[in-house]
């Protein structure tokens, strides 16, 4: 029993306390959260435009959006991240977090596009007809009638997408951005302990995603109440 306690306290001391390694994790968490936040915003904006392009009646825009979604969803996000880093933005002096946010935003946009599209299509088509029959233009019908109803379908799925996004940013280390996962890796390199740093990393991710899920459930309940 004593030896187990000793093992545990040693593990925590070497991986967290010594050389203030907890700061490594905290800084990493900060980067991961920032990265998730910026790419969620960018992804939502891109996704919204893609969805509108796909639903609109301009053929070439629709094709372009479809192509975008197909390419992004058909290739691994790691590959996209590295390509964007080296080929497009690596040569300039952008901070890495900006590069990563753009890469994850571009990636997330494709998924958000489909969420928004599905949410809009789930609104009964009689709603659009009723709005048009009153004399509203297509875009005004969207703004006043369709989108307010679609938001109820979209928000829960969007919250889910953000949780997925947080976990996906764990590959930011590929472009040497010191996010939470990379912090675990760095500490592991110093302590030669493979388990403890990553168990800590896993616990932190789990903690954050649990909070996000809880917030989402609350939001969902609020949305359902107004029905």
């Amino acid at each position: 029993m004593n030896s187990i306690m000793k093992l545990l306290s040693d593990a925590i001391f070497y991986n967290l306390i010594r050389e203030q390694r907890y700061m490594q994790f905290l800084d990493g968490l900060g980067i991961s959260l920032q990265l998730t936040f910026y790419s969620a915003i960018l992804g939502t904006v891109i996704g919204l435009f893609l969805a509108l392009a796909k639903l609109g009646r301009i053929k070439w825009l629709e094709r372009l959006a479809t192509l975008y979604v197909d390419i992004i969803r058909g290739t691994p996000v790691v590959v996209q991240l590295v390509l964007i880093y080296y080929a497009i933005l690596g040569s300039s002096s952008f901070p890495k977090i900006v590069v990563a946010s753009i890469a994850f935003g571009i990636n997330s946009g494709a998924y958000v596009c489909e969420l928004i599209r599905a949410g809009i299509m789930a609104v009964d088509k009689g709603q659009m007809e009723a709005a048009r029959s009153l004399g509203f233009s297509y875009s005004h019908s969207m703004i006043y009638i369709i989108i307010p109803q679609a938001i109820k379908n979209i928000l829960p799925a969007l919250g889910n997408e953000f949780i997925v996004l947080l976990k996906e940013t764990a590959i930011a280390g590929y472009i040497a951005l010191d996010d939470l996962t990379r912090a675990g890796n760095i500490v592991r390199g110093r302590t030669f302990d493979a388990y403890t740093p990553f168990i800590l990393v896993a616990i932190i991710y789990l903690y954050i995603t649990t909070i996000l899920s809880w917030m989402m459930n609350k939001l969902e309940r609020r949305l359902r109440e107004s029905d």
Partner: protein, 240 residues
């Protein structure tokens, strides 16, 4: 008021309307009857271009609708429509449902629009429902709100697409009564309906549609009592 010339509508290979010609006069109440699949709803929906006609011409107040697609939103303000499934906006109260279009499209002041909405709700027999959400209303109440919503734009013509077909039997009467009142006030109405009693009592003219054309038409006494064509007789034999 409305003139339809040689109207065709195809859905892919399916020919739904194959040459509809008619004129609807101001203050006239036209009831369109016919079996399902005869094209009567499609005909109605073509009148305000909710369906895009494949060929033919539609004139509303002398304006060639097909050539003025850019002004279609203006034109639709003159043509109210009531749907089988009501299509009220579920995220808005009854009051908001009725006032949205006048405020946004006619730039009417909110207070004025609300005053008008209360008058209209009174007219359709729902004076105390303005703050309810649609899902709290019965089918008949929803449809009467839908009629009030359409009337709020002061349309010159009202189109009714099977307005009582989705209602429980005991609620059909309350909706038909509102429509009857509207007809008596001189509204120009085109009503696609299965309510033969209503058509006979309120209609100035009955249109029997079949095979994508107006198969036979005439005043209700003539069409119901003395149909000329075999198809019309068969249809009326089934529904009367």
């Amino acid at each position: 008021m409305i003139e339809v010339v040689n109207l065709h509508k195809y859905f892919g290979q399916l020919q739904v309307l194959t040459g509809v010609n008619t004129k609807i006069e101001k203050q006239e109440v036209v009831c369109v009857i016919g079996a399902s699949g005869s094209g009567k709803s499609t005909f109605l929906r073509c009148l305000n271009l909710l369906e895009e006609p494949t060929a033919g011409e539609i004139y509303i107040d002398g304006i060639a609708v097909m050539e003025h697609r850019k002004d279609i939103n203006q034109l639709r303000q003159k043509v109210g429509m009531v749907f089988q499934q009501f299509n009220l906006f579920p995220h808005m109260t009854v009051m908001e449902n009725i006032t949205l279009a006048p405020i946004k499209l006619k730039k009417m002041a909110r207070s004025e629009a609300e005053k008008r909405a209360i008058e209209l709700l009174d007219k359709v027999g729902l004076p105390d429902k303005n703050n309810e959400y649609p899902n709290r209303l019965s089918g008949g109440q929803k449809q009467r709100v839908a009629i009030a919503r359409a009337l709020a734009m002061d349309p010159e013509i009202m189109l009714f697409d099977e307005p009582t077909s989705a209602l429980d039997p005991e609620m059909v009467g309350e909706v038909l009564n509102v429509m009857k009142q509207l007809a008596h006030e001189g509204m120009t109405m085109v009503v696609v309906t299965h309510e033969m009693g209503f058509a006979r009592e309120v209609g100035d003219r009955i249109m029997f549609m079949d095979e994508g054309i107006i198969f036979e038409e005439g005043p209700p006494q003539q069409l119901f009592k003395n149909p000329q064509k075999q198809r019309t007789k068969e249809f009326l034999g089934k529904v009367l």
